[in-house]
């Protein structure tokens, strides 16, 4: 079943096409990797899907609804969550507070309700608390819930960002280089966690440079080069594709042999 349908989208920066008529389809429940050399347009693609950038062409359809022209917060409400390449936590707030904020669009209390703190609001806060605990134990941070986010180790911050993204009950999560800065052990842990998230029925699309993770842990690979899609298919076919090898895999090899 199709979850995300990207149809010939383009994004221009000045005269340069950062994304040029890229189309692809994501099936519900798959783990998809977007790979490609630096500057290929991977993060731009994420910014287009989440509404941070406006589309210059094409359209994006998410579970039957068109996302064109929507604001990022509306897109989050529709069920798309993301993390950032450069971690963007709420650093002066506690770990638990970060996850609570993630639940914003699934809760309702308005100013008056928040000030009066009636029965309904208290029940809602209790539910928020419960979910926060659940998500923090999922990423093994429950013992650090009152720590400021800035005081967490780098790897923990990456996991907290994932927990925060999951707090909005998404159907699709976009992870922008989740393994960057992690050691091999932490990367393994991350892979396990990504699989667990998928098992909950959440579709995942990630930008990744770690080829072990990409080839071993995903169902679907999209390769971008200079804003164009040059490959779209399963990992096994990707490793054999001559154009991919020339643009990305081989280029890396060439760097190594120099």
């Amino acid at each position: 079943m199709t979850l995300l349908d990207v149809r010939e989208i383009s994004k221009l920066f000045g005269g340069l096409a950062a994304i040029n008529e890229v189309s692809f389809v994501l099936e519900r429940g798959e783990i998809c990797a977007v790979i490609g050399p630096n500057g290929a347009g991977k993060t731009t693609l994420f910014n287009l899907i989440t509404g941070v950038y406006r589309l210059d062409g094409g359209e994006i359809v998410f579970s039957g609804k068109k996302l064109n022209g929507l604001k990022p917060h509306q897109i989050t409400e529709y069920g798309i969550a993301r993390t950032f390449q450069k971690i963007r936590l709420f650093t002066n707030l506690t770990v638990a507070e970060n996850v609570r904020i993630g639940q914003h669009c699934r809760t309702k209390a308005e100013v008056i309700a928040a000030l009066l703190r009636g029965k309904k609001t208290r029940a809602e806060e209790k539910a928020i608390e419960e979910k926060t605990r659940e998500l923090l134990s999922f990423v093994n941070l429950d013992n650090k819930r009152n720590e400021l986010a800035r005081n967490l180790a780098y790897g923990e911050q990456r996991h907290l960002e994932i927990a925060r993204a999951m707090a909005s009950d998404p159907a699709l999560i976009l992870l922008d280089e989740p393994s960057s800065g992690l050691n091999p052990h932490e990367t393994d842990e991350l892979m396990d966690r990504i699989n667990l998230i998928r098992n909950q029925g959440i579709t995942i699309i990630l930008i990744e440079h770690d080829m072990n993770l990409v080839m071993g842990g995903t169902d679907h690979i999209i390769v971008l080069n200079f804003g164009e899609k040059i490959f779209d298919g399963p990992p096994t076919a990707c490793q054999r594709d001559t154009e991919v090898i020339k643009a990305y895999l081989g280029q890396e090899y060439a760097v190594c042999s120099n």
Binding site: R88, L89, E97, I101, H104, V111, A114, L115
Partner: protein, 326 residues
């Protein structure tokens, strides 16, 4: 209520009752009441600047709008103070919403510039719309609040004790609401926007809407403070609501610790009393005041809240104050 908060509120209550028991002179009573007004102003601005992270320099304008509306409604239409008080808060909040809407088109320093000019405009209007505000002569003979019989005691506002009790109630309401706000969905959204507005928007927060909400809440308390002040002082002049007052309130928030309710409370009281203690050395007064401020900002960039957290004062443990970037 757990034991710790019982002790906390017990202590606060004790200090508050001590004031009328000790019966300070009218002069000190005046300072105490004014520090209450500054607490309202500081806590209000703290929501916009400290919690929501918008650098706003026109809080005295909201304060003035509340004061002038309340005074005019009484003087021209004969409306009672008790009706004017919420009306003043409401008008200030509405104006705040308008400014918030305009500020949504700007970021960072430009918000400071936009609000700065707005503050100046309001001041100029107070100064020059002679028919309405009597300009620099100010509005005089603003009557005190109407008496409130409460069982054996009637609050008739002939002594400062009655004003004191009223401002204590207002401050208590303000602190309690700020406290609830910060620990609610709304407060968390405001804090998230301060921390990182893009990340906040990606969490599903409509940042433009919430920035306006911060303005509404902050300006509301400034309007309330203005209304109280007008009927307490009995006379208002534009100078009270000038740019300098806006800066003073901003200093209170920064010294208290951006986003810290208790920090701002303490700093508002401290900074109202400080110039009074320095009165004996009149010619050096504002110089010393300025030096103290500079020393505070250099050596305690996180304000009173930051110090409180470091030396582990319980009320600052769960502080939402902002720390400087490493």
């Amino acid at each position: 209520m757990d034991k710790r908060s019982l002790v906390k509120y017990g202590l606060i209550f004790l200090v508050l009752v001590m004031v009328p028991v000790v019966r300070p002179s009218d002069y000190w009573m005046n300072i105490i009441i004014l520090s209450g007004v500054y607490v309202l102003l500081g806590e209000g601005l703290n929501i916009i600047v400290g919690v929501n992270g918008q650098f706003v320099v026109c809080h005295a304008a909201f304060y003035g709008i509340g004061a002038y509306l309340s005074a005019l409604l009484t003087l021209r239409l004969g409306l009672p103070f008790w009706l004017n008080l919420p009306l003043a808060g409401t008008l200030a909040a509405l104006v705040g919403a308008g400014i918030g809407y305009v500020c949504n088109r700007f970021r960072g320093h430009y918000v400071a510039l936009v609000t700065l000019s707005f503050g100046v405009i309001v001041y100029e209007v107070m100064l020059n719309w002679l028919d309405l505000t009597r300009g620099p002569m100010g509005l005089i003979n603003i009557p005190p609040p109407e008496p409130v019989p409460l069982g054996v005691y009637t609050f008739d506002f002939t002594s400062r004790i009655d004003y004191y009790l009223l401002i204590v109630v207002l401050v208590a309401l303000c602190i309690a609401s700020a406290h609830r706000l910060i620990r609610s969905r709304i407060g968390r959204a405001l804090l998230a926007i301060r921390e990182d507005d893009l990340a906040a928007e990606i969490q599903g927060i409509n940042i433009n809407k919430y920035k306006i909400k911060a303005f509404v809440l902050g300006a509301w308390w400034a309007g309330i403070a203005g209304s109280f002040y007008a009927h307490y002082a009995g006379i208002i002049v534009p100078g009270t609501f000038s740019f300098l007052t806006s800066v003073e309130i901003l200093v209170i928030v920064i010294v208290g610790g951006l986003g810290s309710i208790w920090g701002v409370l303490i700093s508002a009281i401290l900074l109202t009393f400080l110039p009074e203690f320095l009165r004996s050395i009149e010619f050096l007064r504002w110089i010393i005041y300025g030096i103290v401020l500079m020393v505070m900002i250099i050596f305690m960039p996180t304000g009173i809240a930051g110090i409180g957290r470091r030396i582990r004062v319980p009320i600052f443990w769960r502080s939402t104050a902002k720390e400087p970037a490493n």
